[in-house]
């Protein structure tokens, strides 16, 4: 069986690279094929990479809080590209300022993300969720 493919990267003008590199190693160690866009990406970079690699999932990170600005039409962009079933996850410190976690989660779900990890640094939770979402056929490989 071929490995599930995940595109990862940091969005905006954010160059926080440590978490990005750790996430790559964590996903690889958990059996995924990772395409790492590294730092300073625009939404279209994620979309283009997902198309090119026929990805199952996209992990967007933001540590400096630019996530909210860049992610608002994230799902629509993927739908327009025909990537309708793709899993979209976002995590890190995705908004500027101190806002209730529930509010942030509901905001990014409106943007079309399947999973939101705001201030939840344990990557293994997201990896567990990804295994589960893929088992449940949330995406068409």
């Amino acid at each position: 069986m071929s490995k599930a493919r995940v595109v990862i990267g940091v969005i905006g003008d954010d160059i926080h690279v440590v978490g990005n590199r750790i996430m790559q190693l964590a996903l690889e160690e958990s059996g995924f094929q990772v395409y790492n866009l590294r730092t300073r990406n625009r939404p279209e970079h994620f979309c283009e990479a997902a198309l090119e690699t026929n990805a199952h999932a996209v992990f967007v990170s933001s540590l400096n809080g630019e996530g909210e600005y860049w992610c608002s039409d994230f799902r629509r962009r993927f739908d327009e590209a025909g990537l309708t079933g793709i899993l979209l996850y976002v995590g890190g410190n995705v908004v500027v300022g101190n806002r209730p976690a529930a509010e942030v989660e509901s905001l990014f779900k409106q943007f079309g993300f399947n999973r939101v990890y705001h201030h939840k640094p344990d990557i293994s939770v997201a990896i567990g969720d990804l295994h589960e979402d893929l088992r449940n056929g949330a995406t068409q490989p």
């Binding site: 160059i15 440590v18 750790i22 590294r38």
Partner: protein, 468 residues
């Protein structure tokens, strides 16, 4: 192959300088402006004089930069009053990325609203004439701290402002700070900076250059940091720099800090002499923990005190100090001044007359030294018409690989972790040319650690955040 050479000094620099100085923010400065200004600057403003005067105890240097002139003037005074031996001028990040217009606009807004819209002092926007006023009456060196891949104009303004220490380098200010600024261009731009520092020097009072050895401060094996420090010393020497400090960041292991200091000091000297640069004076600078700091002030203070003891044990020429608010953001001037005072206290009560060593330190030092020599010898063998070209190629090939660098020219294949005493071990060297024996010893030392996490990434997370 291209070894460092005296013949590598930039030619045609006069015309090149006129081009750089044609920028409006150079305010009509001539290439002789800095040299003329330094004639009226007291000798104590030069690092070589400050280093010569230090008596057994490392010099101290805080960090600090505010956008407004008055705030920077007050900070300078407070840090000096607290006993700092070197005064910092930390530059804002727009200026670091050559976005002078944005920096100028945000400076104006900061002035109008009395709030800080920049995270440092916009030196190019303020200009050399005003900045000279910051240091009127000061009898200590000022150190320019930034993180600028293209620092040509910034360095011109700094020198004309009477700043006699310029931190940085084509590698150390690019790989940790930039994601895409081409490394070959940075190496060439830093040749310019080194060259104008040399041209602004006199025999007795040279402009001082310092490299930034902590790099990403995230599990960087000492051999990688030392190789880069030596390369930057050689690149500066090629341009005629005669006063240079190599540096490294606290590794998280006392044994490894002692070993790193020993090897960094001796190999820098050895390679400079071997390449014909005997006349370069070298100094060793130690950075207190550059990774994630504990948010609790008591723990932060303890970490700073411990780092100060190590600075003393390695007989560092200078220690760059952190503050108890490190985890919280840019410290207030008072907190910064307190940090200087605390570190000076520890250095005074924990004086160390000679460098401390032990069989464990010697074993670690021998391993690091062997690795550094393997890397540098391999770099020297790489093709190129000039040394900088071999250096650039070394990064393209992954011979030098800085963990957690955001830069596109970094290989990102080396993986490192901590062993039982906290020392950083090379688990997977990638393309870094360490010998088979050294690679085996690295792995054997890693095996000393019994409590390793099951997954690599969990181990890395705990190793990175060891001080929190």
């Amino acid at each position: 192959m291209a070894r460092p050479s005296h013949n590598a000094a930039l030619s045609g620099i006069e015309e090149y300088r006129r081009q750089v100085l044609s920028h409006p923010l150079a305010r009509g400065m001539s290439p002789l402006e800095a040299l003329d200004h330094f004639k009226s600057v007291p000798a104590e403003r030069f690092p070589c004089v400050a280093y010569a005067q230090r008596q057994g105890v490392p010099c101290t240097q805080p960090r600090g930069g505010f956008p407004l002139f008055e705030a920077q003037r007050r900070l300078t005074q407070q840090l000096s009053d607290a006993g700092a031996d070197f005064i910092p001028l930390t530059v804002d990040s727009y200026t670091r990325h050559n976005q002078y217009e944005t920096a100028t606009q945000l400076l104006k807004r900061s002035e109008e609203e009395g709030q800080n819209y920049l995270n440092g002092y916009p030196l190019v926007s303020h200009g050399h004439e005003l900045t000279r006023e910051l240091y009127r009456g000061l009898r200590k060196p000022v150190s320019l701290r930034h993180g600028t891949p293209d620092a040509r104009l910034l360095a011109e303004v700094a020198l004309a402002s009477g700043i006699a220490e310029i931190e940085g380098g084509g590698i150390c200010y690019t790989l940790p700070y930039s994601e895409g600024f081409p490394l070959d261009r940075c190496l060439l731009y830093w040749q310019y900076v080194d060259r104008i520092c040399a041209l602004t020097s006199t025999k007795d009072l040279p402009i001082h250059r310092e490299s930034f050895g902590p790099l990403t401060a995230t599990l960087v094996p000492p051999a990688i940091a030392i190789a880069i420090e030596i390369i930057e010393a050689l690149l500066a020497a090629e341009q005629g720099v005669t006063s240079f400090a190599v540096s490294f960041g606290q590794t998280g292991s006392m044994v490894q800090d002692l070993a790193t200091a020993k090897v960094l000091r001796s190999l820098t000297r050895r390679y400079l002499v071997e390449c014909g640069f005997d006349s370069v004076e070298t100094y060793l600078v130690y950075h207190q923990w550059m990774g994630q700091f504990p948010p609790q002030r008591e723990k932060a203070a303890a970490l700073i005190a411990g780092a100060s003891v190590i600075a003393s044990m390695i007989s560092a020429d200078k220690v760059v100090v952190k503050t108890v608010d490190e985890a919280l953001g840019v410290p207030r001037a008072e907190i910064n001044a307190e940090a200087v005072d605390t570190v000076r206290y520890v250095l005074r009560i924990c004086g160390c007359l000679e460098t401390v060593t032990s069989p464990l330190v010697e074993r670690e030092a021998a391993l690091i030294e062997s690795e550094v020599c393997s890397i540098l010898d391999a770099v020297f063998e790489l093709p190129g018409q000039a040394f900088w070209q071999s250096v650039f190629r070394a990064f393209q090939l992954g011979y030098i690989d800085v963990p957690f660098s955001p830069h596109a020219d970094n290989a990102n294949r080396l993986i490192s972790m901590r062993d039982a005493n906290g020392s950083i071990r090379i688990v997977e060297p990638g393309a870094v040319p360490v010998s088979d024996d050294d690679a085996r010893e690295e792995r054997a030392l890693l095996e000393t650690r019994k409590d390793r996490a099951e997954k690599t990434y969990l181990q890395l997370l705990s190793d990175i955040n060891m001080m929190v």
